[in-house]
């Protein structure tokens, strides 16, 4: 009942919402009062009031947030022309009040990106986005000078998607840098970047990228609709959007592909997919996503198709190893010992002698320990993280075996599984597999191979019933498409890839003649 009452409570209007809805006044004094009220407590807001004109009789104010604009640019492009060079203008004495605003806009401000706004809401939005606002007394509009510049991370090699061969550039936290990285690779006007703003408070800039004429109109419209429907206070990363726009909210499997690599995004939009970039995030989200595509690494296309196909097959084996190896070991040890050749069975039996736990408990303990080590290794400072992981694994593993808490084969199985789970090119898919391993392990412990098979079938049913923006999640394997599958299971040679994948229903299907 309390929950219902809370739910029905109307949302409280944010302070200053009334002011934000108002239009700018022609009286600078009034505008400044409102703006000072809006910016009260914002210690980084800079308000520079000044006078200009022949007789220094025109009041004006320049506002910006410190750290978001280039100060020298504000001085050289806005303040200097108005305060010093205004007098040099030939017709200054004749300049009438009505022309003043136009003169400033057309002849004085030396800014490439110059806009206007007429509401407090827009003015504050521009300010927060890193623009400078110029208010002139007598005018109910503000000039918005795009002189954004802030210290950002330079383009570096992506940390999470490391390649031996191929481009080394990765996205940064700055949206404009990121769009430029893509634009440099697709020099066509058909490559569209639609801007959106999401987040009631964060007003995060989001860009939707696709290639017009390749991406299906219905897909683009669907992505646009889902993004426009989002009503949240802030969006700090692309992952926020994935959870909101995904179709299956209770699935552990990623329903969008996240990448730090511009080359990967370009390859995906050329298949007819849509990329979503979020300001402040070095990860770009690509939709729709299908599960078999998580086996693909961009590097596959930067090396010969034979080694690339071999590595891709290796990844598929690693996928099943990471998912099933501990479960198969537990099921075999617990229920199906007859399947193990006698010499091997004797070796395992002797190493398990004295271990106080059943195989299932032993496996769960080891898996959780491994997860602890992995997470600790990730969160530790870089200098000591790997050392802790290795030392932890070696010392704890060795000590646990010596103490008779776990058997040596179990350590080997868990270590092998851990290595296999690192082979995934897409991090979020790797996490899903890590999570799916535990219920399978439990089912193997209780029902043996039957449990594993039932668990696998339930997993398959779940995956088979999923879609990502209307595209079946197991495409192109189920529903099967021979043309598309041949570039998922192995890497097709470039000269045979005449068409784009059908599963994304591209408008133009011809990749090469």
């Amino acid at each position: 009942m309390r929950y219902i009452t809370r739910k029905n409570q109307p949302s409280q209007p944010l302070p200053d919402e009334q002011i934000l809805g108002q239009k700018l006044d022609s009286n600078l004094q009034v505008n400044m009062e409102y703006l000072e009220q809006l910016l009260d407590g914002c210690s980084d807001a800079v308000i520079r009031k000044f006078k200009f004109g022949k007789g220094r009789d025109i009041d004006a104010a320049l506002l910006y947030f410190d750290g978001l604009v280039l100060k020298t640019e504000a001085e050289d492009s806005i303040l200097r022309p108005l305060m010093l060079e205004f007098d040099l203008m030939e017709n200054t004495p004749e300049t009438k009040a009505a022309d003043m605003y136009e003169n400033v806009k057309e002849r004085l401000l030396v800014v490439t990106d110059l806009l206007e706004c007429d509401t407090f809401d827009k003015a504050v939005q521009h300010l927060a986005s890193g623009d400078a606002i110029l208010l002139i007394n007598g005018y109910d509009r503000a000039l918005v000078a795009g002189i954004r510049s802030w210290e950002g991370r330079k383009t570096e090699s992506p940390d999470e998607e490391v390649l031996i061969k191929g481009p080394k550039e990765g996205f940064t936290e700055t949206l404009r840098f990121n769009t430029a990285l893509l634009r440099r690779r697709l020099k066509t006007s058909a490559f569209k970047m639609e801007p959106l703003q999401i987040g009631r408070l964060s007003k995060t800039n989001v860009v939707m990228c696709y290639v017009k004429g390749i991406a299906a109109e219905s897909l683009v419209q669907e992505v646009r609709n889902r993004l426009q429907k989002i009503d949240i206070d802030a969006v700090l990363d692309a992952a926020y959007l994935e959870e909101i726009i995904a179709e299956h909210h209770y699935s552990i499997f990623p329903q969008a592909e996240h990448t730090e690599r511009p080359d990967r995004v370009v390859a995906h939009v050329l298949e007819g997919r849509v990329a979503i970039m979020v300001d402040g995030s070095p990860w770009v989200m690509v939709v729709p996503a299908t599960f078999p595509q998580f086996w693909i690494s961009p590097e596959d296309y930067y090396m010969g198709y034979i080694p690339a196909s071999f590595i891709r097959l290796l990844r598929q084996v690693a996928f099943f190893t990471a998912l099933l190896l501990p479960s198969i070991y537990v099921a075999t040890i617990t229920y199906h010992q007859e399947m193990i050749p006698t010499p091997l069975l004797l070796t395992i039996a002797s190493s398990r002698e004295g271990v106080p736990f059943p195989a299932l408990v032993e496996a769960i303990i080891m898996e959780i320990t491994f997860e602890f080590l992995r997470e600790a290794g990730l969160r530790m400072p870089r200098a000591i993280g790997p050392a802790i992981s290795i030392v932890g694994a070696l010392v704890i593993g060795d000590a646990a075996v010596a103490a008779g808490l776990v058997s040596t084969p179990m350590v080997v199985v868990v270590a092998f599984t851990g290595i296999a789970s690192f082979i995934f090119p897409v991090y979020s898919a790797g996490i899903a597999v890590r999570l799916a391993r535990f219920p399978l392990l439990a089912m193997a412990g209780f029902l043996g191979y039957f449990g594993i098979m039932i668990g696998l079938i339930l997993l398959l049913v779940h995956l088979a019933s999923m879609t990502s923006f209307g595209v079946p999640y197991l495409s192109p394997l189920a529903p099967a498409n021979a043309n598309d599958s041949s570039d998922v299971l192995v890497r097709r040679p470039w000269w045979t890839m005449k068409q784009r994948p059908r599963m994304f229903s591209p408008i133009n299907r011809v990749r090469q003649e």
Binding site: Y335, F450, M453, I457, V461, A464, G470, P479, A480
Partner: protein, 371 residues
């Protein structure tokens, strides 16, 4: 979500329906009947199977609205209802029987400690959940499992190939051709399992080309059943093979390769679990969908759970023990299957032909129609 079943999916579903239980019991049954020539039976009875598949393809083309509409339009509303109710009962019975066959196999050969109710509940729960996730989930599952099963079956056949003794296949036709002909007809019912596609009509993407997946599924089933039976006879000889209840399972247990790889039971168990879950899922889907069409429900999903709740106890209570099940399987099952999957569909097809001829005559104004 696209609810259509593609050609490949229809093929996968059909091959699962045909092979799922046949692979468990048929080799022994066929070997008992025609000894060392039993491997020929799947091919001979497959000729009947191809005719059945042609019949089903014609029925699929007849009415896009589905089986209920087809039957009611051909024999009238009330007679049609009776036939549909018979089919609903038969679907539940068949589902319970398939499940019982598998659980009996598991409990008698693989894992003797599990209570039958637990195994039944687990399988039924998984199948019901798959059906509730929608037709695409079942269709895609069967498509994926088809590839997995084919791969595992090939591995098994290749792994055992070195240990075969081809002399066990001799002599050829010791009892003449008559036992083969009789056996071919008696085992034709295996291919009658392709009939279930007729009850999935509203979901089939290309009804006019449904004959292709159905015919190919019969051909591939002939190949698999024939190969398995051939390998069983060649490995054991027919006297020994006929003594096993599940000779294929015993065959797989005999695999011994490179002095290391042995007893690949897991591959066979995987194949059979896939088979059972997909067959049970399709039958539950067919039941729920047909029942929904009878009571004019827009969504079949609410009827899945009641169907599963009937099938579960039925599969446990239907036979006292595996001996009773075998008696029924050997003596009566083929008759029941042939009635529901061949006789009634054939009558329906003939009525539709007659109706078509009648309406054609009315259009052309021939004297037969006037009289």
């Amino acid at each position: 979500m696209n609810n259509n079943i593609s050609g490949l999916q229809l093929y996968s579903i059909s091959i699962f329906m045909i092979i799922a239980t046949a692979i468990l019991y048929e080799p022994r049954h066929m070997i008992q009947m025609v000894q060392n020539n039993a491997w020929v039976l799947p091919f001979l009875s497959g000729i009947w199977g191809l005719l059945f598949a042609g019949l089903y393809a014609q029925l699929i083309k007849s009415d896009p609205a589905g089986f209920v509409s087809l039957v009611e339009s051909l024999v009238g509303k009330w007679a049609g209802r009776v036939i549909v109710f018979l089919y609903l009962a038969y679907t539940l019975f068949h589902c319970a029987l398939s499940l019982r066959l598998f659980t009996d196999f598991v409990l008698s050969v693989v894992d003797v400690f599990l209570p039958v109710s637990v195994l039944t509940a687990v399988f039924l729960g998984a199948s019901a959940w798959a059906v509730r996730r929608g037709v695409p989930a079942v269709a895609r599952l069967s498509e994926l499992c088809f590839w997995g099963n084919s791969l595992f079956a090939l591995v098994i056949l290749l792994a055992i190939a070195r240990q075969l003794d081809w002399h066990n296949l001799l002599p050829v036709l010791p009892g003449g051709i008559l036992p083969l002909a009789r056996g071919a007809w008696q085992h034709a019912y295996i291919y009658g399992e392709a009939f279930w596609a007729v009850l999935l009509v509203p979901f089939i993407a290309n009804r006019n080309k449904a004959h292709v997946p159905l015919l190919v599924s019969v051909l591939f089933s002939m190949f698999w059943l024939g190969s398995f039976t051939l390998f069983i006879i060649a490995y054991f000889n027919h006297w020994l093979a006929a003594a096993y209840t599940f000779p294929f399972f015993s065959l797989v247990r005999g695999i011994y390769l490179g002095e290391f790889i042995q007893r690949l039971d897991i591959l066979l168990v995987t194949i059979w679990i896939n088979n059972t879950i997909i067959k049970t899922s399709v039958l539950l889907l067919v039941f729920a969908h047909t029942a929904a069409a009878v009571v004019h429900l827009r969504d079949y999903r609410p009827l899945v759970l009641p169907g599963a709740l009937v099938v579960g106890p039925l599969s446990i209570l239907i036979f006292n023990n595996i001996a009773a099940l075998q008696q029924f399987y050997d003596r009566l099952l083929y008759l029941a299957v042939l009635v529901f999957t061949v006789a009634i569909p054939l009558v329906l097809f003939l009525i539709s032909l007659w109706r078509r001829g009648e309406s054609h005559a009315q259009k052309t104004g021939s004297p037969t129609a006037c009289s």
